[in-house]
């Protein structure tokens, strides 16, 4: 029996020829990640272990991104803890304000994660790097503390579900729409403890940005990891960028899957997830008409160049509705600079959008766009739980950047073709 790509990466990091779903394995970690919310807890736990140094100061990434630039005194204290730990242990991949970005936009861009890697992060969207053909998964702060000490962690080998996306992507359809559609089909626990493997012609033609978006939301279906088999598109992205050697793994033709789902994308419409779960998915034309107060374009799901370009295409020459606040957040300093170079900022500013420095900000109801009671936001982020972006009486609708941009213009949920 062959192995899936997920099983192969786990086997390689466990020093084994093969692993079976359900087995508990001890694996070597290529990179361990923490942020300004999760790392402070991890640092306190790390100090209880009784070791005086981290396993490898080049294989830990500390990214303050949730509440920085510091939103209040307590956040400042947490960020300070991160900075202090990074200095004390000489952590090379600590990213200060001015260099930082949203962690899951930043690490792929900086070449710190690559195909074949095994990455754990104390952040649930660590599964994003599967878009490059890595095994990556979210863990808690205590797991991060243990990994920082040992350079290894324990994992249960997940069963895999294979998703095959057939057909040509219609105009305006993006990776975000495919993953929302998929979660709508299988539910928020449809892939609980499992690996989601994204394949098929539509994914093979997709840019790395789109693939990272798809893998990013695997956790919204309960999955341990999401993964796209790496190919030439991946190679072009990582070449000259990767800071460590990388390995391309592929699933064997006779690998075993717990389930296989096949979808035809050619007739799909952009998707909108209605409150208050990412599985409440409707085609945009069925959600159209719902009035909104705010639109957010950014986050580790949709804060990359492809996303900003798509938003700009819709916003060019148009004005944001007078009842709407449009907030655009480039994912990293590099993306910020590139968007500026390409003239996207001019388009955004002319339309009446606010552009923010890279941060998670409103995505988790942190700051920079909190909702009042009764307000609605369309957002390119990944979660629409009760109170996720502010008051428990507010609502979040999830969509792609083009749908968010069109909605900002019309003041209600709208499809991009309504304004083009």
């Amino acid at each position: 029996m062959g192995m899936t790509i997920t099983e192969k990466i786990l086997a390689a990091h466990a020093g084994r020829d093969r692993v079976e779903p359900g087995e508990l394995v001890n694996v070597r970690v290529d990179l361990a990640l923490g942020n300004d919310i999760t790392a402070p807890v991890a640092i306190k736990e790390f100090e209880k272990i009784g070791v005086d140094r981290v396993f490898d100061r080049e294989r830990i990434a500390l990214v303050p991104d949730h509440f920085v630039p510091n939103k209040d005194i307590k956040s400042a204290e947490q960020a300070k803890m991160l900075r202090g730990f990074a200095r004390k242990h000489g952590i090379t991949n600590y990213f200060e304000v001015g260099q930082m970005g949203i962690e899951h936009c930043l690490l792929p861009e900086q070449g710190l994660v690559g195909p074949g890697d095994l990455v754990i992060g104390a952040d649930s969207h660590t599964c994003t790097y599967g878009g490059l053909g890595a095994f990556s998964t979210g863990v808690g702060s205590t797991d991060l503390a243990a990994a920082m000490a040992l350079g290894e962690t324990w994992l249960k080998v997940p069963e895999s579900i294979k998703f095959i996306y057939h057909g040509e992507m219609p105009q305006w359809l993006t990776g975000k729409d495919l993953i929302l559609y998929t979660i709508g089909k299988i539910g928020v626990d449809g892939a609980l403890y499992m690996a989601m493997e994204f394949t098929g012609p539509a994914v093979e033609k997709m840019s790395v940005d789109g693939r990272l978006t798809m893998a990013n939301m695997a956790v919204e279906a309960g999955a341990k990891n999401g993964i796209v088999p790496p190919d030439e598109i991946t190679r072009k992205y990582v070449e000259g960028r990767a800071k460590r050697p990388y390995t391309f793994h592929a699933s064997d033709p006779d690998a075993a899957y717990a389930q296989v789902h096949e979808f035809d994308v050619s007739k799909l419409e952009p998707a909108v997830a209605m409150p208050h779960l990412p599985e409440n998915v409707k085609p945009v034309s069925e959600a159209a008409g719902i009035g909104i107060d705010q639109a957010v374009i950014g986050s580790c799901t949709n804060g990359r160049m492809d996303d900003l370009r798509e938003a700009a295409r819709v916003l060019k020459g148009k004005k944001v509705n007078s009842n709407v606040r449009l907030i655009i957040i480039p994912g990293t300093q590099e993306i910020y600079r590139q968007a500026m170079r390409e003239g996207l900022f001019e388009i955004f500013l002319d339309s009446g959008a606010a552009i923010s420095t890279p941060t998670c900000g409103p995505c988790l109801g942190g700051y920079m766009g909190i909702l009042a009671e009764g307000e609605r936001s369309i957002s390119t982020t990944n979660r629409n739980f009760v109170g996720r972006m502010g008051h428990t009486g507010s609502e979040v609708y999830l969509s792609s950047p083009s749908v968010a941009a069109a909605s900002a213009i019309l003041g209600r949920i709208a499809a991009p073709w309504e304004v083009m």
């Binding site: 508990l24 919310i37 999760t38 402070p40 807890v41 306190k44 736990e45 209880k48 272990i49 009784g50 070791v51 949730h66 509440f67 939103k71 209040d72 307590k74 956040s75 947490q78 992060g121 104390a122 952040d123 649930s124 660590t126 979210g138 863990v139 808690g140 702060s141 205590t142 797991d143 503390a145 243990a146 000490a149 040992l150 324990w154 928020v188 626990d189 609980l192 403890y193 956790v219 309960g222 341990k224 779960l277 988790l364 109801g365 942190g366 979660r383 739980f385 009760v386 109170g387 996720r388 428990t392």
Partner: protein, 164 residues
Amino acid sequence: MELKGRAWKFGHDVDTDAIIPARYLNTSDPRELASHCMEDADPDFPNKVAAGDMIVAGKNFGCGSSREHAPIAIKEAGVSCVIAKTYARIFYRNAFNIGLLIFESEEASERIDEGDQVLVDVDAGVIKNLTKKEEYKATQVPPFMQQIIAAGGLINYVAERIKG
């Protein structure tokens, strides 16, 4: 070991934002987190929960973020254990790592009602509903997880391993 307390009932897919909203994540102080435990699902919960009480919920408990603040808030609020049909995987892991006892039982999740008095025999994995006079079986905890519990959480387990 036996746990005994009153059941507080919640539905399916209770997410980490409901357990501890992100607006309180600018601190990692367990007591402060506990004072907002389950606030967005039931604003009064932190006031009415008593030491030993249990949270009983449906499927996919703890879905969403990786914040360990969620099991920490529950544990520090005095909740003796969580009983649910299934758990989101990061929450499941975190609970064991920090030493919050959690049990998986479809029967218990369906049969226990708010306010029922519940007794859990931890070693036998048996959940007793004292109000309804019923008994339910909890899913067996994997041996490796039992070792973590026995060591008193992951940090102690790792510390022992490093010394050993």
